[in-house]
Every structure is written in structure tokens, then in C-alpha cells.
């Protein structure tokens, strides 16, 4: 089976800084592959290497079987790239931007209409408006439209939903699912953990290395510490006090509760609850609610972050 993207031990340095320290991955047809990690972890460098915009300092990679260094000219027409910063022409209208990118790739909107129809129909009412005057959600739809205009085989999306409201984000991911169904391989980075669970597989990247590459379900299944959600009337002092408890590995705010990871993997939920309620009572909290919970992907991220920092 041929992979759409094959990456082997890719390295990239900027002076003394090692941005990528040997990254490997495979992405298949119709797969959404998420690259998840903090700012400066190397996500953008990886995207720019695979779209042939910069050269790696080590390792090799192929896109649609073509080498990213030797065959870069053959790769460019078959990949779509949506960079993190909005990079369309602000002074051109929606229509003009689309025409421009279509012409660059020697095609027209009509020729690939079936692929972009669903997205284009949403921005069509504003086709005369300058791109710079669009709202965040509309800009992002236009950018996606331009990245797809030449019917690429592989789509690279670098934080496509940053600064986009929750409703528009959901719509955007719905569109990605539809593109996936058409066979496109999609490589996407995101700081939103709810989006990470929508990927087929994700790689957790940190300091230029993949910590783990798995399905989101498997990453969650691998979480093997006791986990509790805690609530009280004064959440800020609660957080500080929980972190003082010696048996606690980590504690972070998660919406309206704090999530606590215990160090001892052998503790069952009853013992854990009892331990926490005793400790918190001793520290003066009388109205604490404690529940044992199943981890989500964000718990897993924060756990790996705790281990690696």
C-alpha cells in the first residue's frame, strides 16, 4: 500500500536550535492526522518541510511517493497548504483571491467546483467583498477554498481554527470530514483538544519530537492513573491546596472542576476519594465534591506535559 505521506527521521535546525529532532510518520488516503503540541514544538517547521517550502537538515520524506527534496516541483501542484497566519490578499475580493490561486495552478473554480462547492457556497454571498473585511470564520472558509482550488491529494492545515468561535469551528470540522470522505489525506495542527479527538490519529509533539502517535481512543485508553474531578465554592485556593497534597501528581483547572491525577496507579476510586476528602477537610474545605472520572484527551495532554516539563 502506498502512503500519501511518509516521513522518516526528519530533522531541522535553526542555528543552535533543534526545531525537529527526528520525526517519523505515515498518513494514508482518507486519513485526518493531527499534530498536537505547544507553540515552538516544531509543528510549523514540519508542515513547511512537507510542503517543500524549507529544506530538512536530516532524514527523508515523500508525499504521494515523491521525494520532498528531489521532486519538489511535482509535489507543489498536488498539495494544498493553509498556513497559520491568514495569508490571502486582503486587498483582493473573495472572488479575485480564488481566481488568483486557481490561475497559479492553471485551473479554474468551475473545473474543481464539486470539491469546493460546499465551502464556496457559504462565502459566495460575499464574493465582491475584500478579504480583509471578512469575519474570522469567513476568512478561514476562503482560505480553505483557496487551498483546495487545484484539487490537491494532501491537505496541510496549520492551526486553521485559531481565533474562530466554537460554532464556526464545528462547521469547519464538518467540512474536513466531508473532504476526508472524498479520499483527501489531511494533516492538521490545532491547540483545541476537542478537535484532536476528531482526528483519526494524532501525534503529540514536544521539543521537536513525537512523544506518541496513536488513535485518540488509544491515547485515552493508555491513561492509567486514578483521575478525579473536584469542586468547591472557592476554586482558586482549592487548586493551590490540592497541589500541596503529597499523593497528588498534578492538578489543573478543567472548566467548572479541577482534575486531579494521583501518583499511585494502584489506588481505586473509593480509596482515592477518601484520601482527597480527608486531606482537603484537614486544609479547611468543607464543601468539596469529589468524583472519579474517565480521562479525556486534554487530561492525557496535560499528563504528558507534566511528565515532560
Amino acid at each position: 500500500m502506498m502512503f500519501r505521506v511518509e516521513v522518516d527521521n526528519i530533522k531541522k535546525n535553526y542555528g543552535a536550535t533543534e526545531a525537529l529532532r527526528g520525526v517519523s510518520m505515515r498518513v494514508s488516503e482518507g486519513e485526518i492526522f493531527g499534530v498536537i503540541g505547544p507553540d515552538g514544538a516544531g509543528k510549523t517547521s514540519l508542515f513547511r518541510i512537507l510542503t517543500t517550502l524549507i529544506l530538512p537538515d536530516g532524514g527523508s520524506a515523500k508525499v504521494m511517493g515523491k521525494d520532498i527534496v528531489a521532486d519538489y516541483k511535482q509535489i507543489r501542484p498536488i498539495v494544498g497548504y493553509m498556513p497559520g497566519r491568514f495569508s490571502l490578499y486582503q486587498d483582493l475580493s473573495v472572488e479575485e483571491n480564488i481566481d488568483f490561486f486557481a490561475t497559479l495552478f492553471g485551473t479554474t473554480l468551475q473545473e474543481n467546483y464539486s470539491l469546493v462547492e460546499e465551502i464556496y457556497s457559504q462565502i459566495e454571498p460575499f464574493r465582491k467583498r475584500k478579504a480583509g473585511a471578512l469575519s474570522g470564520g469567513m476568512k478561514q472558509k476562503l482560505a480553505l477554498c483557496c487551498a483546495l482550488i487545484h484539487r490537491p491529494q494532501v491537505l496541510f492545515l496549520d492551526e486553521p481554527t485559531t481565533g474562530v468561535d466554537p460554532v464556526s469551528r464545528k462547521e469547519f470540522w464538518y467540512m474536513l470530514r466531508r473532504l476526508k470522505e472524498q479520499g483527501l489525506a489531511i494533516i492538521v495542527s490545532t491547540p483545541y483538544m476537542d478537535e484532536a479527538t476528531l482526528c483519526d490519529r494524532i501525534a503529540l509533539i514536544r521539543g521537536g519530537k513525537f512523544l506518541k502517535t496513536e488513535t485518540p481512543q488509544q491515547i485515552i485508553a493508555d491513561f492509567d492513573h486514578p483521575l478525579f474531578a473536584v469542586k468547591a465554592s472557592s476554586m482558586s485556593p482549592l487548586l493551590r491546596q490540592i497541589r500541596q497534597i503529597p499523593q497528588v501528581l498534578s492538578c489543573f483547572a478543567f472548566g467548572d472542576t479541577h482534575h486531579i491525577v494521583l501518583k499511585d496507579k494502584g489506588i481505586d476510586s473509593l480509596q482515592g476519594k477518601e484520601l482527597l476528602s480527608t486531606e482537603l477537610e484537614r486544609r479547611g474545605f468543607t464543601d468539596v465534591h469529589i468524583n472519579d472520572i474517565a480521562p479525556n484527551i486534554e487530561d492525557c495532554y496535560m499528563y504528558l506535559e507534566t511528565l515532560n516539563s
Partner: protein, 269 residues
């Protein structure tokens, strides 16, 4: 200005406001019928609300709902078309300069100069807010010590990791000890661990009395606020504590509340 009836009414309203304070007990921001039009387009449509001293107030809404326009008015950067508001005890129409001195502002997009060193950024913003050299020097030392950035004093801001940059940007925004700080999507595009570090800093600042007015697209962050408002098509559709909103809309979390309300939006932009 033509001396016509409407101007006279404004004067009377302003003079009367001295006898009866516009801000109620414990409030730091109050808006009544605040409106902004761009031509025919009503970006902010008669919003009325208040923010209490020392609270963390979340200002939510979809892209294009009018959040940024409303926030710009409250910061004195954009003149309201209609309505009245007071921020930190100053009138939005008549005392904009005083408002600007009483507030801090930070956004994800612009906050620090990347090509200036850490200390230079602090000195620049301190100077803009009229602090003396002596004050700036003393406060810079204590700030850097508190943030654990003494070693980085002479580093360019662009070479700091994002987490530090954000903490520094927040500290610089409240360097002149404002009563309120406006945070415009301070954590946009930021990973979960860095976001949490930033929010712990907001919590600390609120604990010693700072009022925080914050916009975000992360609905878990909405839960960290004392109260949140949700804007839809230029109007405030809901305003309450997160727990009250969740029970009102029968939702498990703020994400569901947001979806229920934002789906009502009619306008595309």
C-alpha cells in the same frame, strides 16, 4: 457644535448625573443602550449591562457578533453612536482620556514589541502611562523577580517562549495599576498547558482586586469567569454566572449554552 436642543439635553443629562451617580454600588462598568453603527449596519445594538468591581467578566460571542466593537468603545477607542456608559467612574463620551489611564489592555495579536528587550518593553509602556523613571525602575525589578525573569531582562521579547511572553504582556498591561484590564482573546491559539498557566495568573490578579474583562473562544475558560455575557447579532442574549446559565439552558457545559444561543444568529458577518 451647534447649540441645539439635543446638545442642551446632553448637558442636562451630564449635569444631573453628578447628583445621582450612574455607577451603582460595587460596579466598575455600566452601559445603558450602548450602540455603534457603521453606516446602516448596527454592529452593537443597544447593549445594557454592568460589571462588578473585582470580578472576572467573560465577554463571549461568535465571530462578528460585535464583541470587539463593544470592547473598543469601552476602552475609549471608538465613539458610541448612541447610549451611555461609564468605565471606572468616567463617562465614555466626556472623559475618554481618564478612562484610558484607568484601564489596561492586552490582546493576542498585539501586546509587546518583539524587537525590544524585556526591560525596554516594560520601560516603554511605563513611560506611556506617565510613570516616573524612578518608579519604573523599582517596579521593573519587582516585576521581573515575581515572574522569575531576572535572567531574561536583556533578552529580546521575540526569543521568549510563548508562555513567558504572555505572562510578561499581562504584567505590562497592568504595570500602571489600572482598576480594570481588558483582555481580547489573550489565549487564542495557545496550547492547553500554557493557557492554564495564564489563567492562574488572571486568578491571582483578581484575588487582589483587579477587575478582569476577557473575551475567549475557549468555553472551558468561560467556566473560570464569575459571570459571562453572550453576544448574538450585536445584542447581549444572556448574562449570568456560568452555573446559572447552564441550568437555565439545561446544558452540561458552557459549550452547549454557547451553541444554543449562537445558533440563533441571523447575520452572516
Amino acid at each position: 457644535m451647534i447649540w441645539d436642543g439635543s446638545f442642551r439635553k446632553k448637558i442636562i443629562k451630564y449635569v444631573n448625573s453628578d447628583t445621582e451617580p450612574f455607577l451603582r454600588e460595587g460596579e466598575i462598568i455600566r452601559a445603558e443602550g450602548l450602540t455603534k453603527c457603521f453606516g446602516d449596519f448596527v454592529a452593537v445594538d443597544h447593549i445594557s449591562f454592568s460589571v462588578k468591581k473585582g470580578e472576572i467578566f467573560g465577554f463571549l460571542g461568535a465571530n462578528g457578533a460585535g464583541k470587539t466593537t463593544a470592547m473598543k468603545m469601552l476602552c475609549g477607542l471608538s465613539k458610541p453612536t448612541e447610549g451611555r456608559a461609564e468605565v471606572a467612574g468616567y463617562d465614555l463620551k466626556w472623559e475618554v482620556r481618564k478612562i484610558k489611564r484607568s484601564i489596561g489592555y492586552m490582546s493576542q495579536k498585539f501586546s509587546l514589541y518583539e524587537d525590544l528587550k524585556v526591560w525596554e518593553n516594560i520601560r516603554l509602556f511605563g513611560g506611556i502611562y506617565g510613570l516616573s523613571d524612578k518608579e519604573i525602575q523599582i517596579k521593573t525589578d519587582s516585576l521581573l523577580e515575581r515572574l522569575g525573569l531576572e535572567q531574561q531582562r536583556n533578552m529580546f521579547v521575540r526569543s521568549l517562549p510563548l508562555g513567558w511572553k504572555q505572562k510578561l504582556a499581562f504584567s505590562v498591561a497592568i504595570f500602571h495599576e489600572p482598576q480594570i484590564v481588558f483582555l481580547d482573546e489573550p489565549t487564542g491559539g495557545v496550547d492547553p498547558a500554557t493557557r492554564r498557566g495564564f489563567w492562574e495568573m488572571i486568578y491571582d490578579a483578581a484575588e487582589w482586586g483587579l477587575t478582569v474583562f476577557v473575551t475567549t473562544h475557549y468555553m472551558d475558560e468561560a467556566e473560570y469567569c464569575d459571570r459571562v455575557s453572550i453576544m448574538v447579532d450585536g445584542r447581549i442574549e444572556a448574562l449570568d454566572a456560568p452555573s446559572a446559565l447552564k441550568s437555565k439552558y439545561n446544558a452540561a457545559n458552557m459549550d452547549q449554552v454557547f451553541h444554543t444561543l449562537a445558533r440563533k444568529a441571523k447575520r452572516d458577518e
